[in-house]
Amino acid sequence: MIDVLSTVLIVMSLLAAAWAGVLVVLGRPVLLGKWDGVALVGFLLMLELALVGQAIVGFVALAGTNRDVDRLSFGGYLLGVLVILLLATAWALTERSRWGPSVLVVGCLTVPVMIVRLQQIWEPHV
């Protein structure tokens, strides 16, 4: 698929994971009433939008190829990653301790794994 977009998404999700990791170390929950909470959630929203972009690009590419791609898995990963990031954010925001951002660390580290799986499904020989 588009390597630039994948790379940007992977960097963004790793940044978000690191950011959440700092909050875990500091013992700070993600609070929407605080500026840093709003900033992190805003960043996650940008990541989610970029992942929506990836899903659109992915489905368009899938529709335009004749190659033998595992379409079910590919579509599943494209949509699944959207759901996982949203659920992780919601689950993190409703916990007012350091364990809230710990959920975001897991959620954000799942994103690059799923993007790498997408690339493997798209080009099985690489």
């Binding site: 993190a92 364990w99 710990s102 897991v106």
Partner: protein
């Protein structure tokens, strides 16, 4: 209908603090295992029926454990405990069989080789789940609040 305060406290206990993270990882495995086995069964069931049925069974166990831990009522704690024990037994038995008789598993399951394909998280998860259920048990909470 109002619940007994101790029960209400323990219901919140399983999903707060470290329980948040535990349930998040459980939910991730529930989603991943369900999606994976659905694809396997829908597209190539005949290639490895035993492995794929086991994957589906593991997926159901993860879903039940996630729901049980997240709800945290007395009944769902018991359900979560049972599913953690089933999970631990599954990962140990399937892990051992997959190494001793690999020909039975033409394709990998979540529990193959003790969950080595998933950095052994399937092996660690039920142990952490059981420890967490014991840690948040109503009796223990009542003692620590006295």
């Amino acid at each position: 209908m109002s619940r007994h305060p101790a029960v209400a406290a323990s219901a919140a206990a399983t999903r707060s603090g470290p329980g948040r993270l535990l349930i998040a990882v459980y939910a991730l495995f529930a989603v991943a295992a369900t999606a994976r086995s659905a694809v396997q069964i829908a597209t190539r069931f005949n290639e490895a029926p035993v492995a794929y049925l086991l994957s589906a069974f593991a997926a159901v166990v993860y879903v039940v454990a996630t729901a049980g831990l997240a709800r945290g009522s007395r009944a769902s704690r018991r359900i979560a405990t049972v599913s953690c024990v089933v999970e631990l037994t599954g990962v140990l038995v399937v892990g051992a069989i997959s190494l001793a008789a690999p020909e039975l598993f033409p394709d990998a399951t979540v529990w193959s080789a003790f969950g080595s394909g998933y950095v052994f998280i399937p092996l660690v998860l039920p142990v952490l789940g059981l420890l967490w259920l014991r840690h948040t048990s109503p009796g223990r909470l009542a003692r620590s609040h006295r």
